[in-house]
């Protein structure tokens, strides 16, 4: 699954973020969740903003959501991805305004629209420098999306 050619810039894996970037190994989108009140936190933080609890743990979410906004990038900023590509803010089904920056894949850029129903998919990025493989959560259209 790993790309041949130019590589995406990958995240540094830390104790606080590793679960998010490695969840795709077993096909799971994991979001940090307060064990006391059930609030999901993204990006991960040391405590729950609702009740200040530090009992936080990664929990599997449905991986379903909708496109809150998107843009089709045409300018090359980095060696990868190759323009044009779709950057989106996906709002997960589990909680209002629980949003991830991601890419929409599996359909032509012109088919993407705000409100589009999407589901998670993972792009495996192998690492040969000992800094750890990464599974980037991305999203593809579900349901009646044309061109999916």
């Amino acid at each position: 699954m790993s790309d041949v050619g130019p590589r995406r810039m990958l995240p540094e894996l830390t104790d606080r973020t590793r679960f998010y970037w490695e969840g795709g190994r077993s096909g799971q989108l994991l979001i940090l969740c307060c064990q006391r009140c059930g609030y999901y936190l993204h990006p991960p933080a040391p405590l729950c903003p609702v009740d200040h609890s530090t009992e936080l743990a990664p929990e599997r979410v449905s991986g379903r959501g909708r496109v809150a906004s998107f843009t089709v990038d045409h300018h090359r900023w980095l060696p990868a991805p190759e323009p044009p590509y779709v950057i989106a803010l996906v709002e997960l089904a589990e909680q209002e305004a629980l949003r991830l920056t991601t890419n929409i894949v599996g359909c032509p850029p012109e088919d993407v629209h705000i409100g589009m129903e999407v589901a998670v998919t993972f792009e495996h990025q192998a690492d040969s420098e000992g800094r750890g493989d990464v599974w980037l959560p991305m999203f593809r259209p579900i349901g009646g999306a044309a061109g999916a």
Binding site: R7, R8, M9, L10, P11, E12, L13, T14, T17, H42, P43, A68, S69, F70, T71, V72, D73, H74, H75, W77, L78, A80, P81, P83, Y85, I87, L89, A97, R99, L100, T101, T102, N103, I114, E129, R131, V134, L136, M138
Partner: protein, 403 residues
């Protein structure tokens, strides 16, 4: 009540600006000092009388060209004896540094505070594009660095520039309110019209709607002409104690109110409402500190790092209803120099160069003094709204002419 607010003890006593150019190839510290000395002279002050200093963002910001000089460099170069000084990036936009100066003056910590913003992004970015790359890797040898901090959530997806992040707001605004690309274009066209009357502007040749639509797409719906132009240049202002204004060279411009509030998440992609600038919190605070209202504003100098930000500031400041900025700027007549709300009268950052917030403040003072020359707004404008920033960092000020 508003007379009790601390900023009412403050005036903008002097403004100064260095040469401005796409790529000047000059030492950015030299440009910074040019602007600082010009501002002090404009205020009628010697450097010995400057007793405070404030700047955004200060030294040691690892973005090429983002900071031309730090506070210490200027204090040392001019051998200033300061009773108060400050710099920093984590503040209410670029104007946060000026608001802090007002707080210091109002609190009696200093009497004349020199404030500056200096950039050399034009030279630093070489012949690359307009929109600047955020964060990024630096020049280390070896395998490509990994992204950490806030960048780790965006760079793997190629969401590398503020152009991407702000395009998401533009798309959301279009979806929710029916704002059109033609309306967005009016911010760029208006800036270019005004820049033709500003000798220091970087792009002064006319731009038509056809020219706008012929510019390449950067990140939909934003085109090249929706993105400001990196440049080299420095701008400085002096904030002085109002009671000392009688000694000064020019009639002072008063600080009627300022807004620094941030009630949303300090984030570019986690805002509660993608169509609302966090500047709306700052604007509400600003209006709560004055008896003036949006109807009193004679001209507006509103940040246009990207065209959509100016539209969002119009709404945030209540200069048009929420969601209506597209229709407000449509056909360009209302925001033109002779319109009911002249906007970005020097050309904005889109055409006059990315002087990063301070260019708007400088222009507001020029207009309120009646020194705009060919681009002077008619009718002796007396109230100017100035706003800077976008994303997670916004601030605004209301300036008035005379006493």
């Amino acid at each position: 009540m508003p007379d009790d607010h601390i900023e009412r003890h403050c005036v903008i006593s002097g403004v100064g600006q260095s040469d401005v150019g796409r790529r000047l190839g000059r030492d950015p510290r030299e440009l910074t000092l040019d602007a600082c000395l010009a501002a002090a002279e404009d205020a009628g002050l010697t450097t010995a009388q400057i007793d405070g200093l404030s700047t955004y963002p200060g030294a040691a910001v690892p973005i090429p060209g983002f900071s031309g000089a730090g506070a210490y460099e200027v204090i040392d170069a001019l051998r200033l004896h300061v009773d108060w000084y400050d710099s920093g990036l984590e503040t209410s936009g670029q104007l946060g540094s000026v608001m802090k100066a007002c707080l210091a003056v109002g609190a009696g910590m200093a009497t004349h505070v020199l404030c500056f913003r200096s950039v050399w992004e034009g030279s630093a970015q070489g012949t690359g594009g307009r929109a600047s790359l955020a964060g990024g890797g630096g020049g280390r040898a070896g395998p490509p660095p990994r992204a950490s901090g806030p960048n780790q959530w965006t760079l793997p997806y190629g969401s590398a520039s503020a152009a991407n992040w702000i395009a998401l707001y533009a798309q959301a605004h279009m979806h929710r309110y029916g704002t059109t690309p033609e309306q967005l274009a009016q911010i760029a066209l208006n800036g270019r019209r005004n820049a033709a009357r500003n000798p220091k502007a970087i792009y002064r040749q006319p731009m038509s709607m056809e020219d706008y639509f012929a510019s390449r797409i950067i990140s939909t719906p934003l085109r090249l002409f929706d993105c400001d132009v990196p440049c080299d240049g420095a701008t400085a202002v002096v904030v002085s104690r109002r009671e000392r204004a009688a000694d000064l060279r020019h009639p002072p411009v008063r600080v009627a109110a300022m807004g620094a509030a941030l009630h949303d998440r300090p984030s570019w992609d986690q805002l509660s409402d993608l169509t609302r600038l966090v500047g709306a919190d700052a604007a509400a605070q600003m209006w709560s500190r004055t008896d003036l209202t949006p109807a009193d504003v004679d001209l507006a100098e509103l940040y246009d790092g990207f065209s959509i930000l100016t539209m969002l500031w119009l709404e945030a400041l209540g200069l048009c209803p929420v969601g209506e900025s597209g229709r407000f700027v449509e056909d360009g007549s209302r925001i033109a120099l002779d319109g009911e709300l002249p906007l970005n009268t020097h050309g904005g950052q889109l055409s006059a160069g990315r002087l990063h917030g301070y260019g708007f403040l400088h222009e507001a003072v020029v207009q309120l003094r009646g020194d705009g020359g060919e681009r002077q707004v008619a009718g002796n404008p007396s109230v100017a709204a100035v706003a800077a920033g976008g994303g997670n960092t916004c601030g605004c000020m209301l300036l008035t002419a005379g006493d």
